[in-house]
Structure formats: C-alpha cells, structure tokens
C-alpha cells in the first residue's frame, strides 16, 4: 500500500503546526499505518475544503497522496466528531493529553491498531462524559472533573502502558514477587514497574495507600462497561494520578506537558 501514489487511511489528527502562508503540517495517527506526517495545503483559509476535516482528534477518512517526506491530504470525510469535547475546559484538556501521550508513545509508520481502538474508545467516553457534564442541572456537580471522565483518562493510561508492553504490576511485589497484602504499608517504584511490598520498602519511591492500590487494580482489570462509578476523595485521586504519571514519564522518557494543565484544571 505504501508504494501506491494515492492511498486511503482512517485516522485522527494528533498535532498540527502552521506552515508557510496558509498550510498546516499534521501528525495523523492512522489505524492502518500508525503515525504519519502529512501536509494540508491552504487549510488555514476560510474557504479551504480541507479545513473542517483536519480538526484535532475527529475520526476521519483521509485520502492522501504519498510524497517524499510528507503525504499530502487531498480529501477527507469525518466518521465521528467528538463535538462536546471542546465545550468544557477539562474535557478539551483531556483531549490534548490523549493526543500528546499517543504522539510521544509511538514511532512513525508503526501500525498500532489496538492503541488506535483504545484512543477512539477513550474519546467516545470523554465526549459522552462532556455531554453529561454540560447538561447536568446541578451546579455543585460541576465543581471538579466528572468522575466518569477522570476514570476514562486513567483507564486510557493503564491500557496504553499495557499495549506498549509496560503493564504495571499491582498484584505482586516487583522486587520479591510475593503477592501483595491488603495493608497500608505497600510502596511503589515506577522504574521497577509497579508496587513493592512492606518487606522491600527500601525500593519504594512513594507510598501506595490501600485505597489507591485498589483503585489502580480495579481500573486495570475491569472492562470499561463494568467499571463502577467511583466517588473518590481528592487525595486518592491525586495519588492515582501521580502513580500513573510517574509510570508514563519513565516509560516515555519524557514528562507529558499537558499533564500539568489537566491535573490543575477543574
């Protein structure tokens, strides 16, 4: 397929930068070919036929012409629009975060169908959560990020690590391999890839309270549809966020820039 001059691909735009007079250079995560780079010519003009098809994250069918370095976007057709995502600040930030994580995690032209499916599912969940959040008539419920949206992002992080081959260990100690006991004194080490038991506490980078461990396990092993709505206190949420951020930072060799924005947004 790659040596055909014109090809078709389904994908989502992860990143775009302005180029030249009115062009944009896109990083597209395609289902068929993984991450590719393409140019959308004239896309910044209001009369551009392409402009509406190269919005961030929409699931789109692209027609592309193979170029030497960059493919050229010739046509588009949107398959799924996550229209509520950009209508709340937290959900829109989460969209950026998903895009940045995938962009950092994958190499160019490396097909990752499972990651693609995960990304689409996560964006659908966030979009549905944003719609629910927007139509919630109780102002008090809008004080923090919606519980379901938060869980969708954490589920994405854990599943992404799994698909990249870095499944974190939350059931046994990563040092002595003994099964973890339901106690408050467990610890965690991102470089070793998971939890450490109290006997190996000298390897711990941070503590792992029992509730945090339970939440991480629950998100790791439960199908999304079966995952209960979790009403957690801020400390536990921050703890879960912190554990997963350390893991991602370690495995991606880079702290994700949008994590801070997401973590501090309500």
């Amino acid at each position: 397929m790659a040596n055909e001059r014109v090809y078709r691909a389904e994908g989502m735009v992860l990143r775009r930068i302005d180029y030249g007079e009115a062009d944009r250079i896109l990083t597209i995560f395609t289902r068929e070919q993984g991450k590719i780079r393409a140019i959308a010519k004239g896309a910044r003009k209001t009369t551009s036929r392409l402009a509406g098809y190269i919005e961030l994250l929409n699931r789109t069918h692209f027609m592309l012409a193979a170029g030497r370095d960059l493919s050229i976007v010739t046509q588009g057709e949107i398959r799924e629009r996550y229209e509520h995502l950009s209508r709340t600040y937290w959900h829109a930030t989460a969209g950026y975060y998903i895009a940045e994580a995938i962009d950092r995690a994958l190499e160019d032209r490396e097909p990752q169908t499972a990651v693609y499916t995960l990304a689409c599912a996560t964006l659908q969940r966030l979009n549905a959560d944003a719609a629910a959040w927007l139509s919630d008539p109780v102002p008090a419920n809008k004080a923090g990020p919606a519980a379901r949206g938060w869980a969708a992002v954490r589920n994405f992080e854990i599943q992404l690590l799994d698909l990249l081959g870095y499944r974190p260990a939350f059931h046994h100690c990563v040092v002595c391999e003994s099964a973890l006991q339901p106690v408050e004194q467990n610890g965690f080490n991102a470089e070793l890839g998971g939890a450490v038991c109290p006997a190996c506490a000298r390897y711990a980078q941070r503590t792992l309270p029992l509730l945090t461990l339970k939440v991480l396990r629950l998100i790791q092993v439960t199908d999304w549809a079966a995952l209960p709505v979790m009403r957690l206190d801020t400390r536990t949420r921050d703890d879960v966020d912190g554990v997963l951020q350390q893991l991602l930072t370690h495995h991606l060799d880079h702290a994700l820039r949008s994590w801070n924005a997401l973590h501090h947004t309500t």
């Binding site: 990143r15 030249g20 007079e21 209001t46 009369t47 036929r49 402009a51 509406g52 098809y53 919005e55 961030l56 994250l57 929409n58 588009g76 949107i78 629009r81 229209e83 950009s86 209508r87 709340t88 600040y89 829109a92 930030t93 969209g95 950026y96 975060y97 895009a99 940045e100 962009d103 820039r257 949008s258 801070n260 924005a261 997401l262």
Partner: protein, 200 residues
Amino acid sequence: MQKIAAPIQGLIEEFAKLPGIGPKTAQRLTFFLLRSPEDQVTRLADALRRLKTDIVTCSTCFNIAASDPCAICGDPERDQSLICVVEEPLDVLAIEKTGIFRGTFHVLHGALSPVEGIGPKDLRIEELIQRARTTDLREIILATNPNYEGDYTATHIAQALQPSAIKITRLARGLPLGGDLEYADEGTLARALEGRRTFE
C-alpha cells in the same frame, strides 16, 4: 577567498532568515535593491528601523500600535463597553476591514496549547479579566479562531470570567461566502444549520 562583497553577502544572509525566503530569493531581493535608487533603499531602511523604535504595545488592548493608548482604544467614537477578543494583531486588521465593528479589541497574542506548554499565564488573559472587572462592559465577543485551539481558549476565558453579568458571545460559524454546499464539511454544515436565520 570571498566571491561576493561582504555587505551584499550580509544582506543576503539576513533576507534568507525571513520566513518563506530561500537563498535564491534572498539573492534576487538583494540585487534588486542594489540596482534600486538610493532614496527607495533609504525609505526601506527607515521603515525597518522604525518598526522597532516607534512601535509600542497598547496597555489597554495589547495590540501593537504607534501610540499608547492605540488609535482604537483612544478613539472616543468607539464603544468602550464592547470588547472583541482575538488571538493575533492581524485578526484586528481582519475585523477592522469589515467596517462594521465599532467596539474595542483585546489581543491575546496566541492561543492556549497545553501540548506546546502555552498556558493562561503566557497570554493576556489575566489582563482581560482585570479589564472586565474594572470597566463597565456590555459584551465580550470571543473571536478566537474557529478550531480546537481557538474553542479551547474561548472556553477557558468564558469559564474564567464567571460569574459575571457581562454578555459573552462567540463569533458565528457557517458557510463561507462564495462556497459550495457540496464541499462543506459536516461540522461546518451542522453549525450553519444550527445558526440559521429567518429569511428576510
């Protein structure tokens, strides 16, 4: 051994630093100026120098201007209770060209982008909120670009301005003049349907 005289080489190199100008274009421009009358070259040099010495940022709207307050903020004819928020100074020009906007502006100097590390503190958002608190405002028009980044920035500003009695609006979006319905994308067409108006 140098093949081209140093002043010419220097100018070629400076031109080549400009966006969209490669080494060949830089050479052409340099030799065009070399053959031009001296007063034309002097005018260009003066214009370049004045670009940095005579330009200030308006302390009210943060547009680049020749004076502070700028011509728009200092104009008593303009409606000071109406602020149009835009990303870049060039957007002010675009809206001014329509000739129908009689309010004032607020230039953010960019759009929020968590991935590029551009947060609210990197833009003139806090200044806008201050302006909204200290000025008697009727309406704030969020005229950031109609894309994910622009919507994201507008959502942030709208949330940051709450609670407030000021009317907050967003530019309408829909079909461009001279466009063809067949080629409109679904998103734009959906917005155009939502925002349709009674036929007059």
